[in-house]
């Protein structure tokens, strides 16, 4: 027999791998995707299928260009997670070139330029999203009307939309956050009353259910210990506090109610699927709490005072810049760092 020379520890936690982590994140997005599909049709699923296939091809190409082994890293599913998260954030029925530009930006600019998985300072999905948002604002704001207001497109429409040379001409409507931003002169409650899109049980029609579904997926991930509670709780708490402080009984220039902010747009999706990306966020638990809270504050400020309807992507990217600084000041106290006397 030849004796194997390996360093301790010799045992490893069973069934624990990057693949497993990524797989569980993907599984946790399913409720959110299903609710999106219910309210807006199969557009999101088509986005994801097309985006993931393209992302895999781009990752293989990038790895080959970088002279790396391009088979093993493909199996870690991380690029599929990036593509799925980006495609969930895109409007359903986006044209293929929009998705392609976004995925290319995510995979190449967001990830491989910096050295691939684990080396990216920014959240790759959000890099792709922001590139699209600043380049193609029109296409990025064309969400279709939710079930209950308009006709939900079918699978055929989805394919037509994907490969149409011109922009897909389905009936598009402003999202609740758009309506809120464009509001001029109406009291908050009147605004809610006046638009069918804004009259869901908690917040905007459909969007509250989408947020609840992502919240459910996020809580499942939390229970599976894929991430700790610090970043999501930090973000949601900060957003709640900001909304509560800024709420002025619903004047026309006010900041919107707490449930409106918590259950609109990408709040829950951002809190549990975007800011929890470990690579680009702060490292320690305290750091992640601060990271999340800062994102929450930025989301509120940009939503209420900024130029864009939603703000998770900008908030996250700005905080990605700040993560190393946060790490510098949030190192945990180690065992034995200061002397403790024993009482005997």
């Amino acid at each position: 027999m030849s004796l194997m020379q390996v360093s301790s520890p010799h045992v490893h936690k069973p069934a624990s791998s990057v693949q497993q982590v990524m797989k569980q994140v993907l599984l946790a997005t399913i409720p959110g995707i299903l609710v999106l599909t219910w309210f807006f049709g199969p557009g999101t699923i088509i986005n994801i299928v097309f985006g993931s296939a393209l992302a895999l091809a781009l990752e293989a190409w990038a790895l080959w260009l970088r002279g790396k082994d391009y088979k093993t890293p493909l199996r870690d599913h991380s690029v599929i997670v990036t593509a799925t998260l980006l495609c969930i954030a895109l409007p359903p029925y986006s044209p293929w070139w929009l998705i392609a530009v976004g995925i290319s930006a995510s995979v190449l600019l967001g990830k491989h330029v910096f050295g691939g998985l684990g080396y990216n300072p920014f959240n790759p999905a959000m890099v792709g999203y922001v590139v699209l948002l600043v380049s193609f604002p029109l296409q990025m704001s064309s969400w279709t009307e939710p079930r209950g207001i308009g006709e939900v497109p079918g699978i055929f429409d989805a394919f037509v939309a994907l490969f149409a040379t011109s922009s897909y001409d389905a009936v598009t409507a402003a999202t609740p956050l758009d309506l809120f931003r464009q509001n001029s002169g109406m009291l908050f409650d009147d605004l809610i009353q006046s638009k069918a899109e804004l009259t869901g049980p908690i917040a905007g029609l459909g969007w509250d259910w989408v947020n609840l579904a992502f919240l459910a997926g996020g809580i499942w991930l939390l229970r599976r210990r894929i991430f700790t509670w610090h970043a999501p709780v930090g973000m949601l708490a900060a957003l709640t506090i900001c909304a509560a402080l800024g709420y002025d009984e619903g004047s026309s220039t006010g900041g919107g109610s707490v449930p409106f902010h918590l259950f609109s747009g990408a709040t829950m999706f951002g809190a549990f699927f975007i800011i929890t990306d470990p690579v680009s966020s702060a490292v320690s638990n305290k750091g992640r709490l601060i990271f999340g809270a800062m994102v929450g504050i930025l989301v509120y400020l940009i939503r209420v005072h900024g130029n864009y309807p939603d703000a998770v992507a900008f908030g996250v990217l700005l905080l990605n810049f700040a993560a190393p600084l946060i790490d510098q000041y949030t190192q945990p106290r180690i065992y034995g760092a200061d002397k403790v006397e024993v009482d005997e």
Binding site: S8, H10, V18, D327, I334, Y335, A337, V342
Partner: protein, 506 residues
């Protein structure tokens, strides 16, 4: 009931302890040859005091301690010294060490051993000398000389002695077995140790996965007033000295310090027995109880084995199947190291020899990129940030490694165990620690030379200044004389003139 405290992090491991049938000890067959390394402890190697060809008896000292931190080595049985040469020994470094080879005659004749009549009548110094001469080191795994640990000046105000029967590594049941079979001896040894260090409290700590051991200890310690058996939840690495102190006393050993700094000393149960045997029976450390286990041995269990027995002989004694194993681990699966040579001897720190099958402990999986998920930080019992240490270790950023307290890593392996990317984190830390130690040494050396250089500069300047001051004083004095009409030059001229005038007059 004593209150128990929790530590940060830690992990729950599959224990696999029942495999080695704790609670039973068999003698390992006497091998034909023993290989006794002169360094079975932390510190200076012992110096052989026998020559090739000498006959030795069991219990005879064959190598003597050299220097303050060192322990002697004794022959475990009678025979002839047949070689003194460098051989592979169990050590994480994989280095060789001088080994005294004894060919046993099988008669197992011993020198006469005589213990102290009453250890309570002896001075502390005399007791310490007994412990030192008996070659006792920590038998739990680290191998620090026991006499040094309990005789240290830093341990002046010891209030608590902890007998550490935690044994939190999977597979190993040597301490469990010793506690079940020799509870009385442990308590006797612990009482002596407590007396020696002046501890008022004696805690016998047992993890709650060893109820039989805890019961045995409770029974044995009943009569001893200062003793208390404490059980606490099973979690790795509760058996780490620092972790155990936090669990039992809710106190932390200061970073860079030792338990004695906060008045605590920890000892392994087998070490307590060794102290008892040395003082009461006059016997040195020549045997130990070792777990031999893993699915590659047919008859796993605990063996009382002579120090110096080749690991191969111990494995064969347990029915070793060489075909199914591809690594042999000295120690446990979390902190033990891979054996490089089966002829390596069992030494004082060998608490386990593990022979797993390939499916039982599979070869390491390929390393993937760190995604900073942070499960390592959740598992770290020292509250370090293993993911950051990993990045800084790879970047060789020593400033950040120091800032992130690399030296406080206890190398327990909890981080690497949970890492989803299968990064051999501990390996990175060990190597980074090595270079950091070098740098610190280098820094101390250069600081030292700088201090000496500066001191010399200062002295030279001081001397120059003193000379200058003296000259200035002389000058000032001369000038003062001139002012007072007492000009030495003028006086000399006058004298010369007077002399000339006198000559002319003559």
């Amino acid at each position: 009931m004593r209150q128990i405290f929790d530590i940060h992090g830690g992990i729950h491991l599959p224990e696999r302890k029942n495999m080695s049938n704790p609670g039973w000890v068999n003698d390992c067959d006497m091998p034909s040859k023993l290989f006794l390394p002169v360094t079975q402890h932390i510190g200076a190697p012992a110096r052989p005091v026998v020559k090739v060809g000498d006959t030795v008896l069991g219990g005879q000292m064959i190598a003597e301690a050299q220097g303050p931190i060192s322990v002697p080595v004794h022959a475990p049985s009678s025979g002839t010294v047949t070689a003194i040469e460098a051989r592979a020994v169990p050590h994480a470094s994989g280095l060789t060490d001088t080994c005294i080879e004894i060919s046993l005659d099988g008669k197992d004749e011993w020198v006469g051993c005589e213990g102290l009549v009453n250890w309570r009548d002896e001075t502390k110094a005399a007791l310490l000398e007994c412990v030192r001469l008996a070659g006792i080191t920590g038998l739990g795994g680290a191998g620090f000389p026991t006499a040094v640990k309990i005789g240290s000046d830093r341990g002046r105000d010891i209030h608590t002695l902890i007998i550490n029967g935690t044994e939190c590594e999977p597979y190993i049941t040597a301490d469990d077995t010793v506690m079940q079979c020799f509870a009385q001896e442990i308590v006797e040894g612990a009482e002596i140790l407590a007396h020696m260090v002046g501890a008022e409290t004696l805690l016998l700590a047992v993890e709650d996965n060893k109820p039989e051991a805890a019961d045995a200890m409770r029974q044995a310690a009943e009569a001893l007033e200062i003793a208390e058996v404490v059980t606490f939840p099973t979690k790795y690495p509760s058996g780490g000295e620092k972790q155990l102190i936090e669990i039992l006393l809710n106190a932390q050993v200061p970073s860079g310090g030792i338990p004695a700094d906060i008045g605590v000393i920890c000892q392994n149960p087998s070490t307590a027995i060794a102290v008892r045997d040395a003082l009461i029976d006059g016997k040195p450390v020549t045997h130990r109880v070792t777990t031999v286990t893993g699915m590659s041995v047919k008859d796993p269990g605990n063996r009382r084995v002579m120090l110096g027995t080749p690991i191969r002989a111990l494995l064969e004694n347990a029915g070793f199947n060489a075909d199914s194993a591809d690594r042999i681990i000295h120690g446990g699966p979390m902190m033990g190291f891979a054996v490089t040579d089966l002829d390596m001897p069992v030494v004082k720190i060998t608490n386990c020899v593990l022979a797993p099958t390939r499916s039982e402990i599979s070869p390491p999986q390929p390393q993937q990129a760190c995604i900073r998920c942070g499960v390592c930080a959740e598992a770290c019992p020292a509250s370090l940030l293993p993911q950051q240490l990993y990045w800084y270790a790879r970047a060789k950023d020593q400033e950040q490694l120091e800032r992130h307290n690399l030296m406080d890593c206890i190398e327990c392996g909890a981080c690497a165990y949970v890492c989803p990317s299968h990064i051999p984190l501990v390996q990175y830390y060990r190597s980074a620690k090595g270079s950091l130690r070098e740098t610190v040494k280098e820094r101390a050396r250069s600081d030292n030379s700088r201090a000496r250089f500066e001191a010399r500069q200062e002295r030279l300047e001081r001397e120059a200044a003193a000379r200058e001051a003296k000259r200035a004083a002389r000058k000032a004095a001369a000038e003062a004389r001139v002012k007072a009409g007492d000009d030495p030059v003028q006086a000399a001229i006058e004298r010369a003139k007077a002399k000339k005038a006198q000559q002319r007059a003559e």
